[in-house]
Amino acid sequence: MSVNRAQRVDLDVVTDLIPPNSRVLDVGSGDGVLLELLQETKQVDGRGLELSQRGVNECVARGLSVIQGDADTDLKFYADKGFDFVVLSQTLQATRNPKVVLDELLRIGNRAIVSFPNFGHWRVRFSLLIKGRMPVTKDLPYSWYDTPNIHFCTIRDFVNLCEELGATVEKATALDANGQKIGLSMPWWFWNFFGQQAVFLLKRA
């Protein structure tokens, strides 16, 4: 949605988290690249919700089950625990009310998978601290005035929100600037500093 497709290394991480034949809802499915990947590699029963009509039409033309809708307003129409996994990939920061959206994901899915760009990454901090400019990086290519990303958070912020919502972090992965996973043994502050993107597997306790 807000990050270039070529840089979507998080997609592989998300795919690895999902067992074959799961029921998956992809919120913010874009042009359907993740759903297609999941259908091909995991034979999932996949559905999508996408804001842009162009994205939806592309998905449906590719044979994917996708509807036009807004994560902020339309998740309430889904039944409790209707899916094994609900994926929110690079979309959380673009929602108007990330807390409500995350709460809905945990209600609809047995598990939620959330990936987002980490605003605590050192490049972001560097840009603000030294240059005094809002960061524009290859992951976050927008200027402050035209960005769809209105609710940035850091990995630490996100962990706090999960606690507030009573969600258990079953697995978390941080990816560095090269798309490499950061070692599990590293402490949170290290992830928060060097992780450019994060992928969380959550479950409501």
Binding site: V56, A61, I67, A79
Partner: protein, 397 residues
């Protein structure tokens, strides 16, 4: 308009329409007294008949059948030259050999709805009890009645489960009714430019049309065929009013603007000065030659009565509870007869029911009738949906 077309031609066409009522050029399936059609009105229709067309070949597993449901003024001639008008089938852009709905792969069925006037039992059909046309003696027909009759036709072909049911407008209503009434018989459903109920505004437009028909003295309380008459003026006005609702303000402006019809200046009279007037008059006059006025009353009433949620305790999601049918809904941005919100509410209900659903809204200024036109995005959506459903059904090529 009438003069230009020639009275002979009109008379011929009207005669052909009349022939098509009891003895259509389509194949006909007769249901005798042992197989009555149970109507929502609480009575039985018996005997009755269904006129239909088929295209392609049913495979051995009987798993490649697609049922196409026609709209209010459509008919069973979906992909062949229409015997009354001589025009191509109403969805020939979509259906045929090598087309998006490929009749080399699929067995396509389209039947005239019960209550219609092109060969299935309707108000113009001869009532076997009297030997005269039914007229208003035919009980009120509902969308569910039409679908029940179609199910009997599908039974006749020995088809347990249809691969796909699709249609637009009133055809879309039948698709929804199929999915709600016979979920286990519908593998995939494609309702286009439709709603789960007729809105107050839509009922209002239909009422205007019906009143126009009934106000025509030639209507004779619905017994016009007994007098050898037809309420042409009333039906033409009904069609003119309805036709406006099938278009959009933008499309009308684009096509006609305030252009004058074959004249340089206003005539200061009530002649058809404007192109749009002439166009509507033409639409009205050609319609009466191919459609029965009472049939128009019955079919508009069927649409008005349609309300899937009401049939399921008031909650639309309950109509589709536990469904395994794959749905794809399509709406058009400029359709003010069945606006996108109507489709969206069905999508939400299907979501709540946990159904597999796709939903495409197509940007066009061509209004409700866009579903009948060459709309590349519509075709891309149908193509993608049918192809993926075919893979899931094991019908891949």
């Amino acid at each position: 308009m009438r003069d230009r077309m020639g009275t002979d031609m009109v008379a011929q066409r009207a005669a052909r329409t009349k022939d098509e009522v009891d003895h259509p050029s389509s194949p006909v399936l007769q249901f005798g007294s042992d197989m009555p059609l149970k109507l929502d009105a609480g009575t039985l229709l018996s005997p009755f008949q269904i006129a239909y067309q088929t295209y392609g070949t049913l495979n051995d597993a009987r798993s490649n059948a697609i049922l196409v449901c026609h709209a209010l003024t459509g008919d069973q001639h979906v992909a062949n030259t229409n015997p009354v008008t001589g025009k191509p089938g109403w969805w020939e852009v979509l259906i045929g050999p090598g087309k998006i709905i490929d009749t080399n792969r699929f067995f396509v069925i389209c039947s005239n709805v019960v209550g219609g006037c092109l060969g299935s039992t309707g108000p113009a059909s001869t009532n076997p009890a009297t030997g005269r046309p039914y007229g208003l003696d035919l009980p009120i027909i509902t969308i569910r009645d039409m679908v029940r009759a179609q199910a009997m036709l599908v039974d006749h072909f020995g088809i347990e489960k249809l691969f796909c049911v699709l249609g637009g407008s009133m055809g879309g209503m039948q698709v929804l009714e199929w999915a709600a009434s016979y979920p286990e018989r519908v593998f995939s459903a494609l309702p286009i430019a439709t709603g789960a109920r007729h809105s107050s505004q839509n009922i209002a437009f239909h009422e205007v049309g019906r009143q126009a028909v009934m106000a025509d003295p030639e209507w004779h309380g619905g017994k016009y065929l007994d007098f050898g008459k037809r309420p042409e003026k009333g039906l033409a006005v009904a069609r003119m009013a309805a036709h406006i609702t099938y278009l959009s303000e933008a499309a009308l402006h684009r096509k006609f603007g305030r252009n004058l019809q074959d004249r340089e200046a206003l005539t200061f009279g009530f002649d058809a000065d404007f192109q749009i007037e002439s166009y509507l008059r033409h639409q009205g006059m050609t319609f009466v030659d191919r459609f029965d006025a009472n049939s128009y009353l019955y079919l508009t009433r069927a649409m008005d009565y349609f309300d899937v949620a009401a049939d399921h305790g008031g909650r639309l999601a309950d109509a589709f509870a536990g469904t395994r049918t794959r749905f794809c809904l399509v709406s058009f941005t400029s359709d003010w007869l069945f606006p996108t919100e109507e489709s969206r509410s069905i999508v939400h209900a299907l979501n709540a029911a946990g159904a597999s659903v796709s939903f495409v809204e197509i940007e066009t200024d061509r209004g409700h009738d866009a579903f009948l036109l060459d709309e590349p995005e519509l075709f891309a959506a149908i193509n993608g949906f049918i192809a993926s459903a075919a893979r899931a059904r094991g019908l891949g090529l």
